[in-house]
Symmetry: C2
Subunit: 243 residues, 2 copies
């Protein structure tokens, strides 16, 4: 079984369409490449009573949880409070983070700057070496900022800790109608019930009108399903454009 | 109070990073422009026991629910079944949809094509006039396909039914640090508790490092908060780059 993950994007700016969420596509692709199965993505407002139950629910449901956004010194940065509440922990000022911030902002430091050192009790600082500011983690929840450049830099630093067996993917491209091949797909799934089989229609593509994706962590399982699928399609006189 | 909405994106291809979700950004921006407050966005797998509870939960929580993806004739198209299950309804073949499909696919119709006429009992067909295939709605849930071009064409047809009072937005761009202005933002919110006030840092922009957004459905409320905020910022010797 793959490790599973959930992503929680925290930010009114995404839900009101002011900002395009670039982070979830990045995380989803990175995690997939690492062999992690992302099971759910949620975009929620900057509100404690939205953040806290969602974090609790995700933390119980998945091996890893990644949050983006809502970390910073202003009133709408409620991610730390929401996560603390989710796990029944206090918010405490972390001395290591405080020292980083004092050094960075010196001599213009104002009290507001130190709010970024206030994190849930027993939070862990992950991947600190060589990073300006480490990733903060609580239980299985990894907390990232919303600014895409910073999120990427941080994720790059720690991503190897999530790596496991890769997924094996094969694709088939067809000129056909989905209704025409639905029975064939069901037939293949009856033989390969553990196959992740996707069928996607394309309406504006000159070369093909269906993309089929076959996936599993077991490479030979995918190859065998792929071979059976090609054979069944040939019985309908369907030859892939690419396979 | 604004009408609220939730968006459910159904599709393994999004969660595995194979396809970029273009639909939620489109819907979020359209709905915001119509005056509707999108409160939550969820991306979930093509699985009945994920779709059904999410639809039930969203339907109870928001005025409108929009689903995208998972409609079509193949095994991974489970949105209709999930919505039927959410509301305890049967799936029935809709005669009007069946007739549209028979006409469209004639003379090459196969049974698989007709699966798109199988919808939850008492589903409504919305905005049918002039559309090849209408939007299907069950209770407050509006069901859209995942193909972006088709989703947009369909939403355009029915969007005016969701229009209400617009949001009023003002923005302020500053060269400053968020920690420095956190106190001022709290002060403004104490006077304007109903203001939707966002503060967003930018690290790579040559012109400004913070964008503030002020929003409400009451235009003069936003204007008054905006005036107070500018006055308080000027006390810190902060002059907006743009306001």
């Amino acid at each position: 079984m793959s490790k599973t993950a959930g992503i929680i994007v925290i930010g009114n700016e995404i839900l009101s369409g002011k900002t395009r969420d670039e982070n979830s596509l990045y995380l989803v692709r990175e995690l997939r490449g690492l062999g992690v199965d992302v099971r759910r993505l949620s975009v929620i407002p900057d509100e404690l009573d939205c953040i806290s139950p969602e974090v609790r629910h995700f933390s119980k449901s998945f091996d890893y949880v990644f949050t983006t956004g809502g970390v910073g010194p202003t009133h709408d940065d409620l991610t730390m409070d929401g996560i603390a509440l989710a796990f029944g922990r206090k918010i405490l000022r972390n001395p290591e983070l405080e020292s980083i911030l004092r050094h960075y902002y010196s001599p213009d430091l104002v009290e507001g700057n130190l709010r970024m050192a206030d994190v849930p009790e027993s939070a862990r600082l992950v991947g600190g070496k060589g990073m300006w500011f480490p990733v903060i983690a609580v239980e299985n929840v990894f907390i990232f900022p919303g600014v895409p450049e910073i999120l990427r830099r941080k994720f790059e630093r720690i991503k190897e800790m999530f790596r496991e067996e890769p997924f094996h993917l094969r694709e088939i491209f067809l000129r056909a109608d989905e209704g025409q091949i639905a029975g064939v797909l069901n037939g293949v799934l009856a033989h390969f019930p553990a196959l992740a089989l996707g069928s996607y229609p394309y309406f504006d593509n000159p070369d093909y009108s269906i993309k089929l994706t076959l996936e599993s962590k077991d490479g030979s399982y995918v190859d065998n399903a792929h071979a059976m699928l090609l054979k069944e399609l040939s019985k309908l006189s369907l030859t892939p454009v690419k396979a």
